[in-house]
Symmetry: C2
Amino acid sequence: MNIKLVFRIISILMFIISFFLLFPTAFALYYDEIHEFKVFLIIIVCAVLCSSILFYLLKSDKKQNLSSKDGFLMVALSWLTASFIGALPFYFSNSIPCFTDALFETMSGFTTTGASILTEIESLPKSLLFWRSLTHWLGGMGIVVLTVAILPVLGIGGLQLIKAEAPGPSVDKITPRIKETAKILWLIYLGLTVAETILLMFGGMNFFDALTHTFGTLATGGFSPKNTSVGFYNSTYIDIVITVFMMLAGTNFILHYRMISGRYRSLLQDAEFRTYLGIFAAATLLISFNLYGFYETVGESLRYAAFQAASVLTTTGYATADFEKWPYFAQAVLFLLMFVGGCSGSTGGGIKVIRIFSLLKQAYNEMKYLLHSRAIFILKISGKTIRKDIMYAISGFFFLYIFLVLIVTVIVASSSQDVATSLTTALATVGNIGPGFGKIGPAENYAFFPDYVKWVLCFAMLVGRLELYTILILFTPVFWRK
Amino acid sequence: MNIKLVFRIISILMFIISFFLLFPTAFALYYDEIHEFKVFLIIIVCAVLCSSILFYLLKSDKKQNLSSKDGFLMVALSWLTASFIGALPFYFSNSIPCFTDALFETMSGFTTTGASILTEIESLPKSLLFWRSLTHWLGGMGIVVLTVAILPVLGIGGLQLIKAEAPGPSVDKITPRIKETAKILWLIYLGLTVAETILLMFGGMNFFDALTHTFGTLATGGFSPKNTSVGFYNSTYIDIVITVFMMLAGTNFILHYRMISGRYRSLLQDAEFRTYLGIFAAATLLISFNLYGFYETVGESLRYAAFQAASVLTTTGYATADFEKWPYFAQAVLFLLMFVGGCSGSTGGGIKVIRIFSLLKQAYNEMKYLLHSRAIFILKISGKTIRKDIMYAISGFFFLYIFLVLIVTVIVASSSQDVATSLTTALATVGNIGPGFGKIGPAENYAFFPDYVKWVLCFAMLVGRLELYTILILFTPVFWRK
């Protein structure tokens, strides 16, 4: 392993995080939050110093490449570093006086989970609320992808890193050069950010609220600077804008790229996207049907159903209604959506539509084999053949996902939580969703969990965001064998 | 397809079921239940008549074989026929006046689920309670296996049938001839039945109670003729006997055969059995630890923990304690066990230990591939190589299992049940367990569900008992294509 190079890249990442800390610092200045301004400034100075020292100490003349082992280690360490640095402003400003809580909030931000330990969100200084939402935005597209996009430090190995971080079983290359791909992804992300912010401001939000809610939407994060989340505005227009952008964020960004390039047909040819839309439509209809009589008009039922369905499906976690007060069938549909997640190559978490879709097709193939044991059935998705080894990886992922969720369930339950709360806490953190059922419903928060549970949930969020293998592989003996 | 032959075998099965109906008829006579005696007699006469007519009408001179399609159809129809005939005594004796309920109870019996719609079990005539338990015993080892064992009607195709019915991904052949294997399995089953009945009678049970509880234990069923299940006796001795026999019933019967043949070492070499014992021991210890202070002594905690752990793990469903009153951690451990099940080749249901174990090993192999993409890692269990196509079938099974559980959850929730009740109802029926959490806890029953849910649950129990593929394959277009 090339530990030196790994830490050198980490030092660059520290620098990037420091750079992004300048934005909340500016907000602190703008909103006259002098105490927070000082805290941010000190943290930035320290981080830049550390990063520079590390960078020069680890200088090397040789042109170096990262092995796959280095890649996994580097991505894992990047996320840990980002979360630790990111937690400092909350902690040192005394806004979140307990470090575990500060780390939980930041990890929840970077992993785009959106689970919060804050009981009174609006009492936080604006600059910290902005930083809280910015962690979503950075984590959504991936901090390592960002590093790859910005810096020419990596020769070969970039794709390896993106694969270790990026969501979904396959990252199609848009361009032959990985750096170009990373740049295009970030540009689309930026474009969507500008678009949603403007649209939300049209709906009456001020710039601060529009921007932070946009971050939460596009990263499929779910942090809102309001105690009552998006429900605060009670505006049909805002609900629709956010619903649409949640769905866009949960779409494979390569499809966005194709749309921009004018290849409209590819959208309809994409089996994953069609399935994703189908699940959303079916869930929305089933829920609105069940909500008949709960809201005054059919339109309102549709509005709340679509928002909550998109929020859970894309693993965002925003709320405009306390779905725990809904009839049970609607709740069960949302519970089902907790097992799905966004598309591959999107900012959404969860198991991902492509995996569910492939596994269904594969299970069907298995039945065909039972009837014709000597035939060969090829698994095709969107016209492309899915290789057997990819199917293996997908099956392995699905099993590990359920396994991890159940283990986390038992650990959460050990702090005396009922089965429904424990299970949905596990689903909501491993899937990077945010709210669940029972004591962590959309009107609740994660503050009441004891510290050890919060640490386990931090781990669960990270493992979920980095698609299990990247983190879990570090715990295998095979990884550390020479 | 050879529909004629399929129905001919069904007619034999009807005859076998009629034969077994003689036992409750004898009990009816013994307990002076004249009304039930008449009902049983009429049903037997009708069934024998139907079966004979069918058998002779479908006579054929040619020696015929079953294709794999015929096999699936025949097994599915066998179970449906058995359940329909089995429901008649409950219905016509007016003990269960609603046919849906009667069918549910019988399906729950044959599939060894043990979910009951009876609110007042002890008020039923003894002969019907005996029949109720006998359905467990017949379904436990498999009514088709029984047919194969008894009758020389099938040339080739017997293994096909057993595979479609028998639990677990692989049925090792004990003897080269499938009929011999089926006979040996039933003889072991019979031997264990005699042993447990005698042991329970030593503990103070009368013959009737001992026999019915034995049926429920060895089939991993869970029907008890007592309202409070095994808890009625409140005897440490009885608890221990039943715990041990539940664990024996959840063990691969091939291991029993090897033990009888003196091959003791094979027990310890069997990875599935070791894992199975390990899970049981870990669960028992974790639960007893959590129950500290709940019961008066450590011994009592262990006794109740071991019984409930074995009951859920083996998918029996007997209860000596209302685990819904236990602390949440203990409940969560039991919830976790609901995802496991017995060993392959046992009478237990669920996903089965071997599948969980293989999937874990496979997931670990996937991580190795991430590090050494060009290497080849062979999956070995108990020293035997697991072929890739078997691993595929196992992954497909696991996915379909979870998928089915979630779909059933949503359907149950549509009858206004909360998420915990709905989910565990789905787990308890697909896994053939019986009790779950919420409104179907060990002190509750399934009576309150509306009819359409009961029909769906009947389907779920059957699909679970026949290991998904056998039933689900009938719903694929590929099955019905020429």
